[in-house]
């Protein structure tokens, strides 16, 4: 089997990339998806709020996905469902398995990684206590409720205020269960502000910031959790410990880009994002392998995933048409003070069309701050931001000419910073 472009994952990133690649003229495309239906995590996101940027209307997750699935069908793009990729080699051979074909080796001219992310489990945050039934990650709970039609519990405590946790707080409440509290280790929520308002505040669900679960109790099923406030070093203050009886603990404590396959191809990862290191074209260090969506960086809005997928697809098309320039003047991208990471992590000046879109997250909550982009001491861009919070991504466009120094050659590096006034 040989394809021009093989896309791994049929979530919003993979679907978006497939449609874009087709519209840019490539016909020999294959999407590989492990689930029995495309759409990825959007299938279980039955709430609305998707598509405000992309379609200028408010859609549910499945509706958003369906817009792309319809196009994939209309264009006749090949899609292999129920197929798991086992590994990818650096020379772009994808090994996958399914029930009909067994183990296959698929050769690709270009690969787009769109595997998404997974949830951080209990072990990774080491909550002491017993190991009963009734502990779920938020996404797993969402799948049970929205897709399988079952409730994983009735009296619920949610640890972590990531977006899926917030959405599930509302979902559980609407289903007649009781969400007793959302407990967040940090002094701020890691979710979108609109979700805190619409999912917690509107239902009177308490959000306990700077708190954590210090013990899980119950032998067979969760019977309760002990929570406590934490100090500035995130250590629990035992004198504040409080027991909450509940039958379920939901974890919404972070998402990790799913890059096991990327590693098998020798792709270098950013230790902060957990996703591949990419350039302005969303190309990884392995030539012809591109990445987009949550496998690259955990996004807050699906609309941005779609944009990123388009860019990755455009680049893959350029690559197979030998239009992507490999040599050239490279610019390093750095995260300065107040910025946790920036994607892309490097830029090849020759491949910039008119601008580069940078995604980043701040390290803390800031009000009335500026994002500045500097090259050495020289300030290239300064943008006023009303409010910065780690739960919401910052997007900054840097026009092509801004990468040039006074002598009109590209600068060696640029740094993004938060400037507090």
């Amino acid at each position: 089997m040989e394809y021009d472009i093989v896309i791994i994952g049929a979530g919003p990133a993979g679907l978006g990339a497939a449609v874009e690649a087709y519209e840019k003229g490539v016909r020999n495309i294959l999407i590989i998806e492990r689930d029995s239906y495309p759409g990825g995590i959007l299938q279980q996101c039955i709430h609305n709020g998707f598509g405000l940027i992309e379609f200028k209307e408010e859609l549910s997750g499945p509706e958003y996905a369906e817009r792309f699935i319809e196009k994939v069908r209309k264009y006749g793009i090949n899609m292999m469902l129920n197929t798991m990729v086992l590994n990818i080699s650096s020379d772009k051979i994808v090994k996958a398995v399914n029930q009909e074909n067994g183990v296959m080796e698929i050769k690709a001219k270009a690969i787009i990684l769109a595997m998404g992310c997974r949830e951080r489990p209990r072990g990774a945050i080491s909550i002491p206590g017993t190991r009963p039934a009734g502990i779920f990650t938020a996404g797993t709970a969402q799948r049970y409720v929205n897709m399988e039609g079952y409730m994983p519990g009735k009296e619920i405590v949610i640890l972590g205020s990531g977006d899926i946790g917030l959405i599930m707080a509302r979902r559980f409440t609407l289903e007649g269960a009781t969400v007793k509290a959302v407990v967040e280790l940090m002094p701020y929520s890691s979710g979108l502000t609109r979700n805190i308002v619409q999912c917690l505040d509107d239902f009177g669900i308490p959000l306990l910031l700077s708190h954590t679960v210090i013990e899980i109790r119950g032998k067979e099923r969760v019977e309760g959790v002990t929570i406590a406030q934490v100090d500035e070093n995130k250590k629990p203050i035992l004198s504040t410990a409080k027991y909450i009886s509940c039958d379920t603990l939901i974890l919404s404590v972070g998402l990790i880009p799913e890059n096991e396959l990327s590693k098998s191809a020798g792709i270098m990862l950013d230790p902060v994002t957990g996703g591949p290191l990419v350039n302005e074209s969303m190309e990884t260090n392995v030539e012809g392998i591109f990445a987009c969506g949550n496998v690259l960086q955990v996004h807050d809005l699906v609309d941005n995933v779609t944009k990123e997928a388009r860019l990755a697809a455009d680049s893959a098309v350029k690559y197979i048409n030998k239009m992507l320039i490999k040599e050239g003047r490279h610019i390093d991208v750095k995260a300065g003070s107040g910025i946790r990471y920036v994607v892309p992590q490097m830029v090849n000046y020759e491949n910039i069309d008119d601008k580069v879109k940078f995604h980043m997250r701040p390290t803390d909550v800031y009000k009335n701050a500026y994002i500045t982009v500097k090259s050495g001491d020289k300030q290239i861009i300064r943008k006023k931001m009303q409010r910065l919070t780690p739960g919401e991504m910052i997007l900054i466009d840097v026009p092509k000419d801004k990468f040039l120094s006074d002598d009109l050659s590209p600068v060696g590096e640029i740094t993004f910073e938060v400037e507090v006034v």
């Binding site: 492990r34 129920n82 798991m84 086992l86 090994k95 398995v97 399914n98 029930q99 009909e100 074909n101 067994g102 183990v103 997974r118 949830e119 489990p121 209990r122 072990g123 990774a124 080491s126 002491p128 206590g129 017993t130 190991r131 009963p132 039934a133 009734g134 990650t137 996404g139 797993t140 799948r143 049970y144 409720v145 399988e148 039609g149 079952y150 409730m151 994983p152 519990g153 009735k154 609407l174 289903e175 007649g176 269960a177 210090i214 013990e215 899980i216 109790r217 032998k219 067979e220 099923r221 629990p236 039958d247 379920t248 096991e260």
Partner: protein, 493 residues
């Protein structure tokens, strides 16, 4: 009427069941949990085959450890259980500790342990490049190994069942009476009759003994907390790295697991409630700190799960195993089987066979005993050609359910359908590793639940994590809502 009733489905009970299945006798094993190796020490321990230099010479522990260790090669081959003789090091980080190495070495020689030696820091570094530079010397025992503990117990039980041993689960023994040479074993639901009883009830062996015997003893729980790290950290240890032992146990170890993860722990803490099996901040911290004494380099942030094991410590002199016929004829105790109990278990089973024979049980060998378990298909370990053959024959092997550990639907169905098959999410997990990877079942557990529900013909609401009331799901969607509307209507609002 059974010839022998074994109480307890841990490694000891299952080893004995498998040993007795060689003979033409009627054997029943009663387990209070929903699976073998599910409740006590056999589920959660250091997963190690000890060489045998630790126990005091002359004790049952010493004799059975060394004999048991020797028996594992053949057993693991017959039962298709992965085991690796990676060897163990007792690492000394000071001159004082080196003294202790010599004591252990002497014990080892007295106990008949083969292939042990004391090696220099340089040689240790060659074997374990990631051990801390403060290493002075180590006792190297080549016969030590690593194994999946519950995997071994499941294999024993399966093979015993293949050879005719009956198993009942979810039955807790509440009383035992003896009348006219017949024991009546009562559980919460049923009664079973047997000529001989083998008490292999682990942590609760005292309770069972004290139902029958006037010679009471007690078993104290001693807890140990462990952490399992991601496979990315597995390279940090090639052998089982012990520290110099103390009175409370063999100290904190750093070890590869047979599946390639890194295991650290256990702590050692006497507790007063046998069910007090939880991890604590303090314990986990202690395990991490203790392990860093041997290998600093591991990253505890790569922890994927943590657990507590409980050792069954008997209140007898020297804390030796209690194995033998009690003051009540026909009632055989196999109690206080703490470390090196797992390693000793095959030798214990042999010994119990002899004890039963001496006690008058007529044991005639079967001609049709099959020592081999039906081999387990592990998709992950097959070549692509083998995979394709398999998928052609049974397409369920082409569907990956657990992506972290690459486990197929075919393997899960097989684990459920085998003798003494999986009945719960954890039962599947312990048999095929679905849910044991870095996502810890976030992705596969709804799918495993669906397969269990289908295979066992059970309502999804009745599928449990590990039997009892550990149901995963609590209601159908909308049920709570409908109930609350009904309440509202009733109250006339």
């Amino acid at each position: 009427m059974y010839d022998v009733i074994i109480i307890g489905g841990g490694v000891v009970g299952s080893s004995i069941a498998r040993e007795l299945s060689k003979y033409d006798i009627k054997v029943l094993l009663i387990e209070k949990e929903d699976d073998v190796a599910s409740g006590g020490a056999s589920k959660a321990n250091s997963a190690i085959l000890h060489a045998g230099y630790d126990p005091v010479p002359g004790t049952l522990k010493a004799k059975l450890n060394v004999r048991g260790n020797e028996m594992f090669d053949e057993l693991c081959k017959d039962l298709d259980v992965p085991m690796k003789r990676v060897g163990s090091l007792v690492a000394a980080f000071s001159q004082d500790e080196v003294e202790s190495l010599y004591k252990l070495y002497d014990r080892g020689l007295k106990n008949g342990v083969k292939n042990i030696s004391i090696i220099s820091a340089d040689m240790v570094k060659e074997i374990e490049p990631n051990i801390n530079d403060t290493i002075v010397a180590a006792l190297y025992a080549k016969t030590a190994g690593i194994i999946c503990p519950y995997g071994f117990v499941i294999a024993l039980a399966e093979n015993a069942a293949q050879n005719g041993v009956e198993f009942v689960f979810n039955q807790e023994v509440i009383s035992i009476d003896k009348e006219d040479d017949v024991f009546t074993v009562k559980t919460q639901d049923k009664e079973y009759f047997g000529k001989y009883i083998v008490n292999a009830a682990g942590l609760y062996a005292d309770v069972i003994n004290n139902m029958v015997s006037d010679k009471r003893f007690s078993i104290h729980p001693r807890k140990g907390e462990y952490l399992i790290l991601d496979k990315e950290e597995g390279y940090l240890a090639n052998t089982v790295i012990f520290q110099v032992p103390t009175k409370m146990g063999k100290g904190i170890l750093v070890s590869p697991t047979v599946d390639g993860n890194l295991l650290i722990g256990p702590t050692s803490e006497d507790i007063y409630n046998k069910e007090f099996r939880k991890t604590t901040y303090k314990g986990l911290e202690k395990a991490i700190k203790g392990a860093k004494k041997s290998v600093e380099k591991f990253n505890e942030r790569k922890t994927i799960t943590q657990f507590t094991g409980v050792r069954a410590v008997p209140d007898v002199d020297g804390e030796d195993f209690i194995i033998g016929e009690s003051d009540v004829k026909g009632f055989i105790n196999v109690a206080g089987i703490e470390s090196p109990g797992f390693t000793s278990s095959p030798a214990i089973a042999e010994m119990v066979g002899e004890i039963l024979k001496d006690a008058g049980l007529n044991m005639v060998e079967k001609d049709n005993f099959n020592p081999k378990r039906k081999p387990v298909i592990r998709f992950n370990e097959l070549t692509d050609e083998e995979r394709n053959e398999l998928i052609k024959k049974n397409p369920a092997y082409g569907k990956i359910i657990c992506r972290c550990e690459t486990v197929t639907e075919g393997e899960i169905i097989d684990a459920i359908r085998r003798p003494v098959g999986a009945k719960s999410i954890d039962g599947v997990k312990r048999r095929v590793r679905a849910g044991m990877g870095r996502c810890q079942g976030g992705f596969c557990s709804p799918r495993v639940l669906e397969i269990l529900s289908r295979e066992l013909n059970a309502d999804p609401l009745n599928v449990t994590k590990f039997g009892g009331r550990s149901n995963v799901l609590t209601a159908k969607a909308k049920e709570y809502l409908i109930n609350s509307y009904k309440e509202l209507l009733k109250s006339g609002v």
